[in-house]
Amino acid sequence: MGIVAQLNQDRINDFALRVGTVNGTGSASANSLLLQALFRMGIPVSGKNVFPSNIQGLPTWYEIRVNRDGYTARSPDFALMVAMNPQSLKQDIAEVQSGGWVLYDSSKELGEELLREDVTFLGIPLARMCAESFKKARERILMKNIAYVGALVALLDIDMDVVKGMLEEKFSHKPALIESNFRAIRMGADYAREHWACPLPVRVRRMDANRDKVMITGNAATGLGCVYAGATVGAWYPITPSTGVMDAFKEWCERFRVDPETGKKRYCILQAEDELAAAGMVLGANWMGARAFTPTSGPGISLMSEFIGLAYYAEVPSVFVDVQRTGPSTGMPTRTQQCDLILTAYASHGDTKHIALYPADPKECFEFAVAAFDLAERFQTPVFLMSDLDIGMNDWVIPRLAWDDAYRPDRGKVLSAEELEKAKSFFRYLDVDGDGIPYRTLPGEHPRGAYFTRGSGHDKYGRYTEDDEAYVEVVDRIARKIASAANHVPAPEIHRVEGRKAPYGIVSLGGAHWAVLEARDQLLAEGVDVDYLRVRGFPFGAEVDRFLAEHETVFVVEQNRDGQLRMLLALETPCPRTKMIPVNYYGGQPLSKGHVLGGIRPVLERAKTEVAS
């Protein structure tokens, strides 16, 4: 069969595999062992965890893609399926590429109806083997996972020493586990070598692509960014997929922020009673002069809306991390989307507009987390760090993080006690410098610094007012202030076709970036001239306007139903909405090349035929 033939040609460091298991059975650690091994072999690799909103017993999947060219966006073309879960066996077998392989537990016969002509079945009696070589029930379940890793080591030609090394590191404190785990690995590998021609045509080979790389989740990087930004107060209410941010902040703080003498904390994490309270705590702490933040997800942002409006109008710096998940409402808490763009841009009643940052990977989560605090204090307003489940919860291979020790927080215009002592007077909301940004003071510093923070109507002196002109003067200044932030949010990343003016442009953001890059390269290879701009901050700057103006046709690629980035571009740039063609995928999986091309190709075709006719 053609396809089989194709797959049977060597495909080194260029394929995707999927592992189907039961959640809560320890397969997670086995899968990350696998991912890490490939990473340490220097191969560009990515892992995507597809898990249910449930704690134990339901089907869960883990996808790994290796790609020598560095394309690590999700790929749904699975050359190899590790089908360990009877519940999902049927679906899993159905989803493997024609010509591919299915590794399954042959302790139990495969039902006739499941068999496929065009794939190769590799049966290995894992349950039986583990039952024979391990005593404890729990151990037998866990080792089954390690054993399929072993089989893959052989099938894919993974470096056994690397695996052994990792086990030794991981269990350095309990050597017994090193032995048992490695026994399971070898058991799987040996069986594979004895029964099948190893390695398979699809396999890996050492590269040197990861020399300056690290592997980390976006949530861990965000939490670390908050530590490096000097945040001292974190308030939160647990919600998937944002929980990891505070877990990480806590972990790093325990390491870096505990007074060695007293063992006391140089930080305070408040688990609030709900998201409204978490937002209030963030405002209160920032009011006092601490850098405070709250990580949450869509439902939390909805609940925080009232407080967000207060922070906007009373000009209280505050950082909100929105790790987006599939909405609306409770939606699919363990699936990803970019669906809170409109909500966060204009959150709360009345006229508002908020600064937002759109990281594309954990590296930017770290960097933008720091930027978020600087922007929040400089502009005295809420700032949203817009991550998502894919970036936040999956392990990503990224360039090693760097830190400039010369960095000092941008606290914005804060008057010191000394300055207040010298000053004749202080008024909270005066536009002294003509840049729309007033001066603020920190409570307790100086009697002259006192002012009244309120969400009710106030004039530029901070006094309560119901006078139309006094009210208008303040809200107009705030509008100017936020508009000016466009020049301070991270500039867009732009990829242009060398030398030629491209008729097509793509605009995208966040985690969609990687699939867009891959799709664009393919289009370029096919001779289609297409430029690409990745928005990294809101409000948008002049470069975005220019890019939109420069191209006849612009594709806006994003992971939501209604084209929310496209909506923002229509509202905030001169570009007419009609010129921007929506390319939306919102099924909850990370974006893949196919989604992008699927949206772009038909338009290109039409263009061709129009030209032709």
Binding site: F39, V214, M215, V227, Y228, G230, T232, V233, A235, W252, R255, F256, R257, D259, T262, G263, K264, K265, R266, Y267, C268, I269, L270, A272, E273, D274, L276, A277, A279, G280, M281, V282, L283, G284, A285, N286, W287, M288, G289, A290, A292, E306, L310, R400, A402, W403, D404, A417, E421, L442, P443, G444, E445, H446, G449, A450, F452, T453, G455, Y464
Partner: protein
């Protein structure tokens, strides 16, 4: 550092306090509340308490939600930092602020609508967190600012100005706070400055959350005979069960401890609260007993007032969270940022 603001004016008979400030220096903007509103009396008592405690105005953080009561922070200590937040959510602002800077004196002002309806969840949880603050609940049984709807503390059978009759059982903040483990619970009446001032002072000095439920009549919407929140009713039915006296550390007279019927509780800052029990069966340090006693007095149609329960607590939010003793806002960035070397080191684990 400390700054002593110059008093605006020296008034004959206004003895300056240790900071050289007179009550006038603790005033705020002119009240815009209705003439006769109980809330204004509470404001006056607060001003007196700040003055008597020699509080530095700019070291005070005054917070509130939304309501007539919540407007009052504008009417005292103009040199304090104020935060008039949103309806029912002041406790979370206070908790966050306190977490960031425990060195301020936190005074929260709220109303029965602000605290017992929309804000009930936050009130319960700020009590549970034992945030170190004085929380004054100006309780009038109605939503004043929105023109007289029943609040959750309205009495069964009480009539609203629009003629409705409330049928729902009221929520008693004192009872609630006691069952949630509050360590300082008092009730007073806006009209009784003699009783209110020492209670407010004790609440400011208490370490941990101090709830003071002040019956504060709304003359415009809920001051009719039948209302237990009216001037007439409170004057008749309010029973002071403990007389509270408060002695700041410096002023303490060590001799008269434990004299007849007086019980002294030494507070965290060394100052002393002296409680003279009017009713001998009442023990303000026995939580269960207090709850029982209050139930009984409620049954008799009485409203027991005074510092009803006090327990020397050190376990405020910062103790519970085990934070450093200095305010987090005071920590220099250098001690907060691990730096590049640590980042290098850390990332070895991400390999």
């Amino acid at each position: 550092m400390t700054y002593i603001a110059k008093p605006v004016a020296r008034h004959p008979g206004m003895r300056p306090n240790a900071l050289g400030l007179t009550p006038r220096d603790y005033e705020g903007a002119m009240s815009t509340l209705c003439a006769g509103c109980g809330h204004d009396s509470v404001t006056a008592a607060l001003i007196q308490a700040f003055y008597e405690l020699d509080v530095q105005p700019h070291r005070v953080a005054k917070l509130s939600g939304i309501g007539c009561s919540s407007k009052t922070p504008a009417y005292f200590v103009k040199e304090a930092h104020g935060f008039n937040s949103v309806h029912g959510r002041m406790p979370s602002i206070a908790a966050g602020a306190n977490a960031a800077n425990q060195s301020m004196l936190y005074v929260g002002i709220s109303g029965d609508g602000d605290s017992l309806s929309i804000g009930l969840g936050q009130l319960c949880h700020v009590i549970r967190r034992n945030v170190n603050m004085l929380y004054v609940l100006e309780n009038n049984g109605v939503y004043g600012l929105t023109k007289g709807q029943f609040s959750a503390s309205a009495d069964v059978g009480s009539k609203s100005k629009s003629g409705d009759v409330n049928r729902q059982e009221p929520i008693d903040p004192v009872n609630l706070a006691l069952s949630l483990g509050a360590t300082f619970v008092a009730r007073s009446f806006s009209g009784d400055k003699r009783q209110l001032v020492p209670i407010l002072k004790a609440g400011m000095s208490h370490k941990g959350f101090a709830l003071v439920d002040v019956i504060s009549p709304c003359v415009t919407f809920n001051n009719h005979e039948e209302s237990t929140k009216s001037y007439s009713y409170t004057r008749s039915a309010v029973q002071e069960v403990v007389e509270t006296d408060f002695i700041p550390l410096r002023r303490e007279i060590t001799t008269d401890y434990e004299e007849g019927g007086v019980r002294s509780v030494k507070l965290h800052d060394g100052s002393t609260v002296k409680l003279r029990k009017v009713d001998q069966d009442f023990d303000p340090t026995n939580r269960g007993g207090v709850l029982e006693y209050l139930r009984a007095s409620r049954a008799r149609g009485e409203v027991a007032t005074g510092l009803l329960y006090i327990e020397k607590s050190d376990a405020d939010l910062h103790v519970l969270e085990n934070t450093v003793d200095v305010p987090l806002v005071g920590l220099p960035y250098e001690v907060l940022c691990p730096g590049s070397a640590a980042l290098e080191e850390l990332q070895k684990e991400w390999w």
